[in-house]
C-alpha cells in the first residue's frame, strides 16, 4: 500500500546542511538495500520540558491511577452481594459498577457504552485530531512510562545511545538488567491489576500469594505481564504503525479544520543554521537544530508534514518552543494548527477556527442520542422481568372429561435486592382453573416467591372447560402482583379442535 503524503518533498542529495541525526541516519540505512524484512530503527527520544509534556505527565498519573486503584474501591451492597465498586463477576453472572448492577441479558448497555466510546473518539478526532493516540491510549501511556524508566536506568538520549554502542560491561549489564526488571515489575503490576476487576480484590490479593487464586487469574496476569512488557518495552511505536488499525481509519474523520501538530512551513523555510547576531531577513525561523526529531517517540520528522506515524503528542511543540525562546523568535513554529489556518495565512487572510461543522454536529448529535438512550434505559430499567413460556410440546392436553389443559412456565427475574412474593393470576379465560404440580390456586391466585437477585420459575397448569373455549387460540394475560410491583405478560391458550368430540 502506498501512503501518499503531501508536502513531503524530495531532498536534493548532498545539499543537505547541518547535523544529521542518528535517527535519520539509521532510517536511511534501513531503507537502503531493502531486503525482505526491515529491522526496527532504534529511537532514543530525548526528555523535553514544556506545556504538553506536563499535560502528558499529569494524564499518565491520572489514567494509570484510575486503572490501578479502581478495583480497590469498596461499595456497600446488601448482604451476600460483592462489596466491590467495579466488578465483572463471571461466576455470579453480574456486572457491578457503583450503584449499577447489570445482568447478562442487559449486555446492550455494554454495547451502548462501546458505541458511545467510538462516537466520542470520532468527535474528538474530528475536532482535535489524534488526541486519544497522543495522550490517553494505553499504548502511549505505558510506552511513556517505560521510556521514563529507561531514562532512569540508562540516562537521557545521548547516554542511551552511547550505552547501546558500547561493548558489554558490568555497567551496561546492571543498567540494562535493572531496566528490564523494572519493566517486568510494571508489566506484572499491570497484569496483576487487571485480574482484580474480575474477583473480590482483597480476597484475590491474599489467594494470589499462596497459590490459591483461580488458574485464569494467573494466566491472565501472565499474559498481560508479557504483552505490557513486550508492547511498551520492545514494540513501542511499531504497535501504532503496524498493528493498530486506528491510524488508517481516523483519516476519515479529519478535514481541513481538524487540529493537528504542524510545522509551519511558510514561517520556517528556508531553514538553516543561524549564528548569533545574524539577521533573520530572507530566511525561515527553523535553525535545523533537529530538536523536534530527537524528542519524537515515533522517530519521525514533523517538518515532512502530516504523517501516518504522527500521534499528535505535541512533544516536538515543546522542544521547538524551547529553542524559539532561546534564539528569541516567537513560539509556535511547530504548533497545534489546522490545514485551513495554514492556507489562510499563506494567502494573507485571517485564519478561522471552525469547531462547529456538519461533521462535528453529526458526531455530537449521535453521541448525545446514544447517551440519552443509555440514560433512559438505565432510569427505566425494570426491577422485575416477567416472562411466560408456553409449553410447545404438547401444545395442549385433553383430560378425561374433555376439558383442555395448557402448561406454562413463568420466569421471573428479581433484579431487586429484596425477596419478592407475588400473586399470580390469569385473565381472559372464563372458568379457568390454575394450579401448579402439587399446589392448587387459592381464590384463583398462585403464590410465588423469588429470592433477591435470582430468577424464579413456576410451572402453571391451566385447565379450561371445552364449552368455554370460543376459539382454538384464546388470548390470555398473566398478572404478577406483589406489595410494590405490578406487571403482566400476554400469552395464548391453545386448544386445537377442542370443541369437536
Amino acid at each position: 500500500m502506498v501512503t501518499v503524503i503531501e508536502r513531503r518533498e524530495p531532498k536534493p542529495d548532498g545539499s543537505h546542511q547541518g547535523p544529521v541525526s542518528v535517527a535519520k541516519a539509521t532510517k536511511a540505512k534501513s531503507q537502503h538495500g531493502g531486503g525482505l524484512y526491515k529491522p526496527r530503527t532504534p529511537i532514543y527520544p530525548k526528555l523535553v520540558h514544556g506545556r504538553w509534556r506536563m499535560i502528558k505527565w499529569a494524564l499518565l498519573v491520572v489514567t494509570l491511577g484510575i486503572y490501578y486503584a479502581t478495583p480497590w474501591i469498596r461499595w456497600h451492597r446488601p448482604e451476600g452481594l460483592p462489596q466491590q465498586a467495579v466488578l465483572v463477576d463471571f461466576t455470579g453472572r453480574r456486572f457491578y459498577f457503583f450503584f449499577i448492577q447489570l445482568w447478562p441479558q442487559e449486555v446492550y448497555f455494554i454495547t451502548g457504552l462501546l458505541v458511545m466510546a467510538a462516537l466520542a473518539l470520532f468527535l474528538t478526532s474530528a475536532l482535535f485530531g489524534r488526541l486519544w493516540c497522543g495522550y490517553a491510549c494505553p499504548q502511549t501511556v505505558w510506552t511513556d512510562l517505560f521510556i521514563a524508566v529507561e531514562r532512569l536506568w540508562e540516562g537521557d538520549r545521548n547516554a542511551r545511545m552511547r550505552l547501546d554502542a558500547a561493548p558489554m560491561s558490568f555497567d551496561k549489564a546492571w543498567r540494562k538488567g535493572g531496566k528490564h526488571l523494572t519493566w517486568l515489575a510494571i508489566g506484572a503490576a499491570t497484569g496483576g491489576a487487571w485480574i482484580f476487576y474480575f474477583h473480590d480484590a482483597p480476597t484475590l490479593w491474599k489467594q494470589l500469594w499462596v497459590g490459591q487464586a483461580p488458574l485464569t487469574a494467573y494466566i491472565s496476569a501472565a499474559v498481560l505481564t508479557f504483552t505490557t512488557y513486550s508492547l511498551a518495552g520492545g514494540m513501542r511505536e511499531q504497535v501504532c504503525t503496524y498493528l493498530c488499525p486506528w491510524p488508517r481509519i481516523q483519516g476519515a474523520m479529519f478535514d481541513e479544520h481538524t487540529l493537528q501538530v504542524m510545522y509551519l512551513h511558510e514561517r520556517g523555510e528556508p531553514r538553516g543554521p543561524h549564528k548569533k547576531n545574524e539577521s533573520w531577513e530572507g530566511r525561515g525561523d527553523c535553525i535545523d537544530c533537529n530538536q523536534c526529531v530527537i524528542v519524537c517517540p515515533m522517530g519521525i520528522d514533523i517538518r515532512d508534514g502530516a504523517q501516518l506515524e504522527c500521534i499528535n503528542c505535541g512533544l516536538c511543540v515543546d522542544a521547538c518552543d524551547e529553542i524559539m525562546d532561546k534564539i528569541g523568535r516567537p513560539r509556535g513554529l511547530i504548533a497545534y494548527d489546522t490545514d485551513h489556518a495554514v492556507e489562510a495565512r499563506a494567502c494573507g487572510n485571517k485564519p478561522r477556527y471552525d469547531f462547529i461543522r456538519p461533521r462535528t454536529i453529526y458526531y455530537a448529535g449521535a453521541l448525545a442520542l446514544v447517551s440519552g438512550l443509555m440514560i433512559w434505559g438505565l432510569v427505566n430499567r425494570e426491577p422485575v422481568v416477567f416472562d411466560v413460556l408456553r409449553d410447545r410440546n404438547p401444545t395442549f392436553v385433553r383430560l378425561h372429561d374433555g376439558s383442555i389443559r395448557d402448561g406454562y412456565t413463568l420466569k421471573v427475574a428479581n433484579r431487586t435486592f429484596a425477596r419478592q412474593t407475588f400473586q399470580v393470576t390469569l385473565e381472559g379465560l372464563p372458568g379457568d382453573v390454575l394450579k401448579t404440580p402439587g399446589m392448587d390456586a387459592t381464590k384463583g391466585a398462585l403464590t410465588m416467591t423469588v429470592e433477591p437477585d435470582q430468577v424464579g420459575s413456576l410451572r402453571v397448569l391451566v385447565t379450561a372447560q371445552a364449552q368455554a373455549l370460543s376459539a382454538p387460540s384464546v388470548p390470555v394475560t398473566f398478572h404478577l402482583r406483589s406489595a410494590d410491583i405490578q406487571t403482566e405478560k400476554r400469552s395464548v391458550f391453545l386448544s386445537g379442535a377442542a370443541n369437536t368430540p
Binding site: 526491515k38 392436553v397 402439587g438
Partner: protein, 289 residues
C-alpha cells in the same frame, strides 16, 4: 520477475514491478518482529507435538508426554459431575416421593434428571412431549390405566407392563373375535354399546342387544358401568380418552383382537434414584394427581 528492480522516485523505495493504471506498488518490507513471531509459532508447534497427542502411526499415535485424551477427560468430568451432584442425589435417595415433590429444590433437581432420562428412554414410545400415540398411553393427561399416584407410577416404571419381570403389571384383554369367543354380530352390537357408554349417539337397538353380552364378558374387568379398574389396567370406557382410538372401527378392532402393549421393566436398567426422579417428573407433568 525481472532482475533489475525499479526504484520509486518520490519515496526512494523499490517497487514490486506490478502496475495498475499507472500506479505502482512499493515493495515495503515486513517488519523484522513479524519474522520472529513466525519463528515463535514454529517453535510452539514443535513443543505442542512433544506435549500433546500428535503424530499418527499405523496402529496408534504418539500420545505426547502429557498423555492428554479427550476420552479420559470425559470420564473425569462425568465423575466430577457426579460428585458435584452427590449432595442432591443422596437427599433424593433418602427422601420419599411425596417429600421430593413438596421440596422446591429437590423437586427442581428431580425434574431436571427426569426430563433427561425421559428424553433418552421413554420418548421413543411416549413421544418427547409425553403425549403418547395410538397404543402408547398419554402421560400428560389425568387418565391412568394402572394408577396415577406417585407409588403407582413408580411401580409401573420399575416392573413394566406385561414385561418379563415377575412383578410386572399384567392383564390380557381377550381377542373376542380372533379367538371366536363372540360372534361377529355380537361384536358389532358391543361396539355400539361401548360408543353409547361414552355418551355419544349410538344405535340404541344394537346397544341394548349387547348389554347382557357386556355384563357377561367385559364387566369383570371394565366394571358393570364400564368405569374400568386400575388393578387390571382396564380402561374406563365412559371418558373421552381412548388408547386404541375412539372411532367405531378402532373400538371394534380392539374387541376383535384385544391388543395389549408392553412396557419394559426399567428397574433392571435404572437405579432407584433415577426411577424416583422419573416418577416425580411424570407425575408433575401430568398435573400431579
Amino acid at each position: 520477475m525481472a532482475g533489475n528492480k525499479e526504484t520509486d522516485a518520490h519515496s526512494g523505495m523499490e517497487t514490486t514491478g506490478h502496475e495498475w493504471d499507472g500506479i505502482k506498488e512499493l515493495d515495503t518490507p515486513l517488519p523484522r518482529w513479524w519474522l520472529w513471531i513466525f519463528y515463535a509459532s514454529i517453535a510452539f508447534a514443535v513443543v505442542y507435538w512433544i506435549l500433546m497427542p500428535s503424530w499418527p502411526g499405523i496402529t496408534g499415535y504418539a500420545p505426547g508426554i502429557l498423555h492428554k485424551s479427550d476420552r479420559a477427560q470425559v470420564v473425569t468430568d462425568l465423575a466430577a459431575l457426579k460428585a458435584q451432584r452427590s449432595a442432591q442425589a443422596s437427599r433424593l435417595a433418602t427422601a420419599d416421593l411425596a417429600t421430593i415433590e413438596k421440596d422446591p429444590q429437590l423437586q427442581a433437581y428431580a425434574l431436571a434428571v427426569g426430563q433427561s432420562i425421559f428424553g433418552d428412554n421413554c420418548a421413543t414410545c411416549h413421544g418427547t412431549g409425553g403425549t403418547g400415540a395410538k397404543g402408547y398411553p398419554n402421560l400428560r393427561d389425568d387418565v391412568w390405566l394402572w394408577g396415577g399416584s406417585l407409588e403407582d407410577i413408580q411401580r409401573t416404571i420399575t416392573h413394566g407392563v406385561r414385561s418379563t419381570d415377575p412383578e410386572a403389571r399384567t392383564s390380557q384383554m381377550p381377542a373376542f373375535g380372533r379367538d371366536q369367543i363372540l360372534q361377529p354380530g355380537q361384536i358389532d352390537n358391543l361396539t355400539e354399546y361401548v360408543v353409547s357408554l361414552s355418551h355419544r349417539p349410538a344405535n340404541t337397538a344394537m346397544a341394548a342387544a349387547a348389554a347382557p353380552v357386556f355384563q357377561a364378558n367385559c364387566a369383570s374387568c371394565h366394571g358393570p358401568q364400564g368405569l374400568g379398574n386400575q388393578q387390571f389396567g382396564a380402561p374406563n370406557l365412559t371418558d373421552a380418552d381412548w388408547l386404541y382410538g375412539s372411532d367405531r372401527a378402532s373400538i371394534k378392532d380392539q374387541i376383535w383382537n384385544g391388543h395389549g402393549g408392553v412396557m419394559p421393566n426399567w428397574g433392571k436398567r435404572f437405579d432407584a434414584n433415577t426411577i424416583k426422579a422419573l416418577t416425580v417428573y411424570i407425575h408433575a407433568n401430568a398435573g400431579g394427581k
